[in-house]
Amino acid sequence: MIQQLSVFLENSAGRLSELTRALGDAGINMHALMVADTEQFGVVRIITDSPHKAKEILDALAFSAKLTPVVAVEVPQRPGGLADVLEALGRSGINIEYAYCFVEPTGDAAVDVFKIDAPNAEDVLRAAGFRVLEESDLYAPDTA
């Protein structure tokens, strides 16, 4: 499991920009950013190269940040790549709460990120032949 940074934001002008500037100023690089938004508020999900440090910085700036463990899987960049992963999970009756993908600029594989509330998800994916990413694949684990 890797640590995703989740930030609760009010829907107000400039708040997301403050968030990203704060991380930028701290020299924290982002691999992926996704906003789940409703009319009233948003939840920003970020994969960074130092999640614990990012959370500390955001805490100090009165942002509401949490770390959420998510499953990250490397999938080959070809048609049907994601579908294969989802089928593997589906066969084991594992439900996905949300998912998103990102592509590292240097790599030829994409990374699919899943929020899954099943302890055996990573084992299922490995057994199906997928490469599940560890923290060290994305960042030097930086326990706060």
């Binding site: 609760f8 789940a36 409703t38 508020f41 009165a62 942002f63 709460e97 929020k115």
Partner: protein, 427 residues
């Protein structure tokens, strides 16, 4: 004290005060004359119904010394109301008044379960506000070790609470929450401290909030009541049974009146609280309309005191909001929020107009421990808060979930309502 004996004492003191104000305060003489009321004609407590009321504007127009019934050379201290709604009002105390006030505050703390063995941190503001010095003198009269911290600098409050082994905290209930939250942020579990009693007043709070504070701080939280126009804190206090505030009826007469007809309502029914002071020399106040809404709790208290109990203040006639024709007290919202897991008790009510219609937005903080990664959970929380508030108020509202700790914390009285309806220029 048996009721009959109490009522004899009340009548004698009332007659005495009525004569004093008639002779010494032109405003009362004019009022009484205009109403055709002769102070000597009052022979029973029921006759009080014929006496004219005193209102906040009377106190304001008498600024600064117009209401004083004793010469300034006999006045040893003044305090004032906060003046948040306009001109401040000045109240004066003779040495005798200060002495009685200290007794009444000592009585308040004793009712709360405190004694000379306690260490009391007084965090009400010191100065013109009656809270700080009122509590201070009472705590000393009780014989408690008294720490006059006054308000502000919350981290220092926590440090003193911890280092000085404080057992009784006197402050506003919302500040007690801030102190508790601050302690936790400082890595101190307030439940581990020797603190055992909180004596809270100066703003309305709910039963739910009491339970939250008691849980947060690991204490017994006692509600007290007073207002600067009448004396300051020490007009009424809960006992350890926490079942209504015993009114100190040997010094204050309480009436509960229908705010429209100004007729007395039966015990148990809600109305406006009206007080008459029976022993004050500096500023005796006759039938003061407090604007506070409460009721007399019928029946006797397990503690054995014969003083009647008023319920905690449920709202104020002038805080009461009329939203789409419905009477709304902000305290109702607080009550609801305290019962919903996942949100903080902090909220702000923003009133605007959309066309001719009132629009209500309740901004509510998501609790810091809420698992907010789940958008569906957040939406469910929002719907729950909206539904619960709507059923409590009978008004449709919007709920805006805001970031934890984003609503301003108050060190004194919390400001909960932002009414912009008249600032938008026409409907």
């Amino acid at each position: 004290m048996p009721r009959t004996q109490l009522e004899e004492l009340q009548l004698k003191r009332l007659q005495d005060r009525l004569r004093a104000v008639y002779e010494n305060v032109p405003l009362y003489r004019e009022k009484f004359d205009a109403a055709g009321f002769d102070p000597d004609s009052l022979v029973t407590l029921e006759d009080l119904a014929r006496v004219p009321f005193t209102v906040k504007d009377d106190m304001r127009s008498a600024y600064p010394y117009g209401m004083f019934a004793a010469p300034l050379r006999d006045i040893v201290r003044v305090h004032s109301s906060s003046g948040t709604t306009g001109q401040i009002t000045v109240v004066g105390y003779t040495a005798g008044d200060i002495d009685r006030w200290a007794d009444l505050m000592a009585r308040t703390f004793a009712s709360a379960g405190a004694s000379a063995d306690d260490v009391m941190q007084v965090t009400y503001g010191y100065g013109l506000f009656t809270g700080g010095l009122g509590a201070h003198y009472g705590s000393e009269r009780l014989g408690a070790l008294t720490i006059p911290v006054s308000g502000g600098n919350t981290k220092r409050q926590v440090q003193i609470l911890k280092d000085f082994g404080v057992t009784v905290l006197a402050c506003t209930p919302s500040y007690a929450v801030l102190i508790g939250e601050t302690a936790k942020e400082m890595g101190i579990d307030p439940r581990d401290l020797p603190l055992r009693i909180g004596v809270f007043g100066a703003e309305p709070w709910s039963e739910n909030m009491r339970r939250q504070i008691e849980d947060l701080l690991g204490i017994t939280a006692i509600d007290i009541y007073g207002l600067s126009e009448i004396m300051g804190p020490g007009v009424a206090s809960e006992c350890v049974h926490q079942n209504g505030l015993h009114v100190f009826e040997d010094h204050f007469l309480i009436e509960i009146l229908d705010p429209e007809t100004l007729e007395a309502v039966p015990d148990g029914e809600y109305g406006e609280v009206v007080f008459t002071t029976l022993t004050k020399e500096g500023i005796p106040v006759i039938r003061y309309r407090t604007r506070d809404i409460s009721r007399i709790i019928p029946g006797s208290c397990a503690c054995g005191r014969t003083f009647r109990r008023m319920e905690r203040i449920t709202g104020r006639t002038d805080d009461m909001l009329i939203i789409r024709g419905v009477n709304v007290f902000p305290s109702q919202i607080e009550q609801v929020l305290a019962g919903v897991p996942g949100v903080a008790r902090h909220y702000q009510l923003v009133l605007t107009k959309k066309g001719a219609l009132d629009h209500v937005e309740v901004q509510v903080e998501v609790a810091p421990d809420f698992q907010f990664d789940e958008v569906r959970e957040l939406e469910r929380l929002q719907r729950k808060v909206k539904g619960d508030i709507e059923s409590a108020l009978a008004v449709s509202i919007n709920v805006k979930l805001v970031e934890p700790k984003s609503i301003a914390r108050s060190e004194g009285k919390a400001k909960r309502v932002l009414d912009l309806r008249n600032e938008q220029g026409g409907a």
